[in-house]
């Protein structure tokens, strides 16, 4: 039985059991990761999983059942059970769930990949991890860590409306870190980012990172941070590096514009959103420099795909235009509730999980400045780079971030290093204070976005560049 045949049988079984709509995803994923510590391999993992998840709509609620078995009997049973579970929801039912109309998609899509990451010799990949962490350790770090991860996912979608889509997505990435341990504290520097850098690309992405070239620097910086002065406390002009701004976008914009949160579907756990649909199209989210797009078509970015997990073809969409909130991340069901005419942002982290609203690539369009120009135009402020901690409230409004390193900015120049830099604020106030934005965009990948119950881990992309913000509270400590 082919994967499409299995999905078709699962859908039919759900319809036969009473579903008025059903779809099924067959997925086959291979995952490889290697972690190294202090010049030795700590863990090598290779996983393979395959299965089918059937989603059935009965009345107001979804039913979902998944099994790692593509036999005819198993997929039909999965379809039947999905409909049966959905029917049980009638005990606490609401208005019937509708789906925004769309042309059923058919087609194939594959991410670009120059070097098959699973085809690169394990010894070569291992040597890279061992060599770089060894260098970090030899240059002053108490703890040197490295990690690469590879996902190779094939998936097939069939729906009762006629969707028939297959995709092959390869994702790769890596990162290294140096930790220096002092008297009662630790300091850490990472490259290229706290979580590494990831994309829908092959091993060429890891090659381009050139981890070797940065191993000595991060070891020395981590050691140097132990004796650096602490970040001053107060209100100041803040310049953020691109990687930190990517996470700022993720947490304070990306999650806030998820329509399921706005509608209260995630209220008990991930939370809601401070955004009110009545203000869509009118609310001034940020300054005029703030242009945020939802764009799953960016080649190589981690949140890219050809079709989302409901079969909606990938297409760019504005989320914030010249500071004004104009778009959301939606699925076909949430869009119907909100009276919108688009979905396109629904994904599951595997065949065993229900697809839900997820960020794709949510990021900034380039600004008119450069990082050097931003620093040169700043008389007094702090530059913070590379995320170390992140926390935001359940409405995605009040945030506090810590960075690995800060630098004094005086009279247009970068000065001494600060340790333990933190900043805090309120989302819209913060974004409205952005008065300079660089054109040096990088599509940072976040491979660990948690959401949903049972929990799912999403892969998202965030184009971002250095930017400047005014009157930001910094230096919050315990």
């Amino acid at each position: 039985m082919s994967e499409f045949d299995a999905a078709t049988a699962g859908v039919q079984a759900a319809l036969d059991a009473g579903a008025r709509y059903a779809d099924a995803r067959v997925m086959h994923r291979r995952y490889e990761a290697m972690a190294a510590r202090n010049g030795a391999v700590e863990d090598l993992v290779q996983r393979e999983d395959a299965g089918i998840g059937v989603r059935a709509l009965v009345g107001s609620g979804w039913g979902f059942f998944a099994v790692p078995d593509l036999s005819d009997a198993a997929v039909r049973q999965a379809g039947h059970q999905a409909a049966e579970i959905a029917a049980a929801s009638a005990r606490v039912a609401g208005a019937p769930t509708e789906l925004v109309a769309g042309q059923p998609s058919t087609g194939s899509w594959a991410s670009e990949c120059e070097i098959d990451p699973l085809g690169v010799a394990l010894s070569e990949k291992g040597d890279l991890m061992v060599r770089t962490t060894g260098t970090i350790r030899e240059n002053g770090a108490d703890l040197a860590e490295g990690l690469y991860q590879i996902w190779d996912t094939s998936k097939w979608l069939v729906s009762s409306e006629g969707h028939r889509v297959d995709q092959h997505i390869r994702e790769s990435g890596a990162g290294i870190s140096a930790t220096a341990i002092g008297d009662g504290e630790t300091q850490r520097r990472t490259y290229p980012a706290a979580r590494g850098q990831y994309g829908t690309r092959g091993w060429e992405l890891v090659d381009e990172l050139d981890l070797d070239a940065h191993a000595v620097r991060i070891a020395e910086e981590a050691r140097g941070l132990l004796s650096a002065p602490p970040c001053p406390a107060g209100e100041t002009t803040l310049i953020l590096g691109a990687e930190q701004l990517a996470l700022q976008i993720h947490e304070s914009v990306g999650h806030a514009i998820e329509l399921d949160r706005i509608l209260g579907w995630e209220a008990a756990f991930a939370g809601t959103s401070w955004l009110d649909l009545a203000q869509l199209g009118a609310l001034q989210f940020g300054s005029a420099l703030m242009n945020i797009t939802i764009d799953p078509t960016i080649p190589g970015a981690l949140g890219s795909f050809g079709f989302d997990d409901e079969g909606t073809p990938a297409a760019p969409r504005d989320a914030v235009r010249e500071g004004r909130w104009v778009g959301v991340l939606a699925g076909r069901d949430s869009a119907a509730v909100a009276g919108l005419d688009y979905g396109g942002s629904v994904r599951a982290d595997g065949w065993a999980r229900l697809p839900m609203v997820r960020m794709t690539n949510v990021g900034l369009e380039p600004g008119p400045h450069t990082f050097d120009e931003i620093v040169a135009a700043t008389d007094d402020g702090i530059f913070m780079d590379t995320n170390r901690s992140w926390s935001i409230d359940d409405r995605r409004l009040n945030f506090q971030f810590g960075c690995e390193v800060g630098y004094e900015v005086k009279n247009g120049k970068l000065g001494r290093m600060f340790r333990n830099p933190t900043y805090t604020g309120i989302g819209p106030q913060f974004w409205r204070s952005m008065d300079m934005l660089s054109s040096e965009i990088v599509p940072w990948g976040t491979p660990n976005c948690g959401k949903g119950q049972p929990g799912q881990v999403g892969h998202t992309g965030h184009p971002a560049a250095p930017a400047r913000f005014r009157n930001v509270r910094v230096g919050v400590t315990a």
Partner: protein, 458 residues
């Protein structure tokens, strides 16, 4: 085919291909079902039945792991071949600790069949009770049942099987931006009363109308069990990990009086029905903090070897994190294992155990829950986060005024140091896991000081 048969077959396939290898094989079948509600309606209702096989092997100084959900003959053969191929070219692993010796696990909690085989109708019925008890307030949350069966074998002859089941419910009631929460986990679905939990969540909402902002500062606090669970989670990951201690990143210092004498922390996965860890080492009841003195941390075989000790049976399969507590409990007052039963009370306070602590506060803050806590430095356990699901001012032993949520930046180790714990609740509550796949049992805590650094609304 049983999990043990799959494990034995996989071990045979692997050792046939690499006779000199040290090999361990774990097979886990997880049946997870979760009925989720929002806006007082069940909107997502999911289940899966997944069996996975994991091999870890060591050959000629090299180590590799592989896993698969393809458990047919071809799938197992491919997994064995792939893992053997990987181990032959993997980099050297000088820290390999060897596979676990044969050992017999201790007794674990019996499995409740009604929980293991709970139906979607049974979960929906509990949701109905929660929503009805919320009395017209908007309700959201989940009811979850899970059933695990597993087997473990290794090349030293260790052969284990296990089974556990758990039920949990976690829900909020909401109105006009005010939320209240109630949550509970148990090995028996019958222990969970959706009506009681819904009413408790609703009582918090009703007592939370028109909250006011309190200035930032250090306040005496009473933390309800849900908030204490966050302390336990952060202590588990950052403090009681043997790996973190080996690497000098942990605050823990063995045989040092690091906590108030009222604090006794015990890890006991056996209560939850889990008999062995991912390396096949039997779980045990492990005292981590005894009346304020840190006496142990959790080890897997690798971190134990590095530390010159033995595994505590806390391997998680996540080498980067190492071992950590799997069911961390803060013992209820007066320090013994026998906690009082949870007794409902009127108003926003979760139960009688919390109410008794509130009564001893002259001026302080009652916190229901914490949210999005993140460590700023693991060595100091400085953590930032927010309050959630209900905060009140306490004056002269009475809850007097609902408050808006705070952001805090607080060293958890300082919050629990000698003299800082003014009281421990009499009733410990078993709480469901969230992100970290571990369990928590917590009473309320009365702490001398908590550093609220700002209002969450700005």
């Amino acid at each position: 085919v049983s999990e043990l048969a799959i494990a034995q077959q996989t071990l045979e396939l692997t050792t046939s291909a690499a006779p000199r290898a040290e090999v361990e094989v774990a097979v886990d079948r997880s049946r997870l079902a979760l009925t989720r509600f929002a806006n007082s309606v069940i909107h997502q209702n999911v289940a899966d039945d997944t069996t996975s096989v994991r091999i870890r092997m060591h050959l000629d100084g090299r180590t590799a792991s592989g896993s698969s959900t393809l458990t047919g003959e071809a799938g197992l053969a491919a997994l064995a071949t792939r893992t053997v191929d990987a181990v032959r070219v993997a980099p050297f692993d000088p820290g390999w600790p060897g596979v676990a010796p044969r050992a017999v696990p201790g007794p674990v909690a019996a499995v409740d069949p009604a929980t293991a085989d709970a139906t979607a109708e049974a979960r929906a019925s509990l949701v109905r009770s929660f929503v009805d008890a919320a009395g017209g307030l908007e309700a959201a949350g989940y009811c979850r049942t899970s059933h695990w069966t597993g087997a473990f074998v290794n090349s030293l002859g260790q052969e284990l099987t296990g089974e556990s089941a758990e039920a949990s419910m976690d829900g909020i009631a909401r109105q006009a931006g005010v939320d209240g929460v109630a949550r509970l986990a148990s090995s028996r679905l019958a222990d969970i009363d959706g009506g009681v939990l819904g009413a408790r969540a609703a009582a918090k909402v009703q007592a939370g109308a028109d909250p006011v902002e309190l200035p930032p500062g250090h306040y005496e606090v009473v933390l309800e069990p849900a908030a204490v669970a966050d302390l336990l989670q952060n202590l588990a990951v950052w403090c009681f990990s043997g790996k973190a201690l080996n690497e000098r990143r942990s605050f823990a210092e063995l045989d040092a009086a690091q906590f108030d004498a009222r604090v006794t922390l015990v890890d006991d996965p056996l209560i939850a029905g889990d008999g062995y860890d991912t390396e096949g080492t039997p779980h045990q009841r492990l005292v981590l903090v005894d009346e304020g003195t840190t006496v142990a941390v959790c080890h897997d075989r690798r971190t134990a070897t590095e530390a010159g000790t033995t595994s505590t049976g806390n391997a998680t399969g996540a080498a980067s994190w190492g071992a950590f507590p799997l069911h961390l409990q803060l013992l209820a007052a007066p320090g013994g294992d026998g906690a009082a039963a949870v007794t409902e009370v009127d108003g926003p306070v979760a139960d009688m155990g919390v109410a008794a602590l509130v009564a001893s506060v002259t001026r302080g803050v009652l916190v229901t829950d914490f949210w999005y806590t993140r460590v700023l430095d693991p060595k100091t356990l400085a953590i930032t986060g927010l309050t959630r699901n209900g905060v009140w001012l306490i004056e002269d032993g009475e809850v007097t005024q609902p408050l808006r949520n705070f952001r805090f930046t607080q060293s958890y180790s300082q919050a629990l140091e000698a003299g800082a714990v003014l009281g421990v609740g009499s009733a410990a509550v078993h709480l469901p896991d969230s992100w970290v796949s571990a369990r928590w049992t917590a009473p309320a805590l009365h702490l001398a000081s908590w550093n609220f650094t700002g209002g969450a609304s700005g």
